[in-house]
Symmetry: C2
Subunit: 237 residues, 2 copies
DNA sequence: AGCCAAATTTGATCTGGGTCAATCGGCTGC
DNA sequence: GCAGCCGATTGACCCAGATCAAATTTGGCT
């Protein structure tokens, strides 16, 4: 989908009521710093399918996801797509070396982000090593996830990929919303396929297979994990 | 291969004659800092096949590769292996969150590293934000490479994988040793296969195919790039 | 409610790359 | 010099997952 209007609420920005205040990069800041920090960023929201930034764009901002889900992906010249991750509230985007984003990001459903212009943000970091350390921490965590995903893409079967995805996604939702066996899947089957290095048909068939085995139930907008232990067994080698 | 003797030269350590002084993490330090820094680490070398650290090991050190090549990999419980990268001189290893390495590393041929105990290194970083910034920079670069590799693993054909690998590996060697169309391949075919998410047979067949097409020549310990442009065409979509 | 468009599921068939099985070198040690 | 071994190559065959092709379900819009 094409980017459309980006609406912002430049005056409605207070970290006080921010859902991710304690989780995101912000968790490394004390109350006074947070006060100063909030003037740097502004809340921006995106409608479903809107592109937040593109692979080849010059980086002008950092983003802190406040609400919603984003798909992060890279495209090959012929249109093949690999989704390199899904961003959820608390995730921090925009770190790069080249001065360009090296992947694209768009909204899955409504997304709200806290957007920081690169310059002021960089200056704010300058004399706050604990914020830099926090960003480093997030980068290292992502790196670890990226390596896990390489194992999945390079060495796992379709069944293992889907099972691993369901468990991993559930874990992220649990961390945000608390325990539940209902796993919301706001992304399309195509998104899941492009994340797992499969086709949409294989993803669909594997879901159906899991349902027939009685380990999940496919419900509207997600699945219900009926037998987490069996899914875990499928995910492991 | 099993780990064998680790020899060290605790007194022979001077950054002055270090080949990677200007390239690695060290590039962020001035002469005085480098003097202090060199007392933190010690040179250790490993013979071919020796394991430098294992996935499940508690992290006790950071490593700066000085010489040689290492394979970095993760294993699934049933033995399937995914190589997540190759480390070359200048690469910095050991960053993690959990306190455990999340991949294993072993030497391909003789390897020399500069090993820093975690504690003293952490304290040294403490009041040197430019070193932290340098480490962050390296982490972000790796993250970008990891994403590129996800695209390769998830969405590229065997031919594209091999061609992309040869060009990428050549680029790294060129950055270290200067331009050349001879591409040394110190790693085994199995290593290449496990890096690309293929089998050894497919890698071998693809090499043979490239040679028959006249775009590479398979030589002892590597290949010669006869027609880089054609290989690039194969690598792109 | 009813209609169109898009997403998903299902089925039939095909194929790229895996698996299994010989060879084929090239070093090493004697 | 040659026996033994290990990595690499080659060949024959197979299969997991891709591709192609319909249904079928869902969702948005009058």
């Amino acid at each position: 989908m094409k980017p459309s209007v980006v609406t912002s609420e430049p005056n409605g920005h207070y970290c006080d009521d921010c859902a991710v205040r304690g989780a995101a990069v912000c968790s490394s800041l004390d109350a006074a710093e947070l006060r100063e920090f909030e003037h740097l960023g502004r809340r921006v929201h995106f409608v479903s399918g809107e592109t937040v930034f593109s692979e080849e764009d010059i980086t002008t901002s950092f983003y802190n996801v406040l609400e919603g889900v984003m798909r992060l992906y890279k495209l090959l010249p012929d249109g093949r797509r690999q989704i390199v991750g899904f961003a959820l509230p608390g995730d921090f985007l925009g770190m790069n070396l080249s001065g360009r984003h090296n992947f694209s990001a768009d909204a899955i459903g409504v997304v709200k982000v806290c957007q920081f212009p690169k310059g002021p943000f960089g200056r704010f970091i300058e004399d706050r090593p604990q914020l830099l350390r926090r960003i480093n921490e997030l980068a290292i965590r992502e790196l670890s996830q990226a390596r896990d995903h390489m194992v999945l893409l390079g060495r796992r079967s379709a069944d293992e990929k889907v099972a691993t995805f369901l468990l991993g996604w559930r874990e992220r939702l649990v961390a945000l919303n608390g325990p539940s066996d209902m796993v919301a899947l706001p992304m399309s089957r195509q998104d899941i396929a492009d994340y797992l290095g499969l086709t949409i048909e294989t993803v669909s068939r594997t879901f159906t297979k899991l349902e027939r085995l009685g380990v999940i139930e496919i419900i509207h907008g997600g699945i219900s994990l009926l037998d987490p232990a069996r899914v875990e067994a499928m995910a492991a080698a």
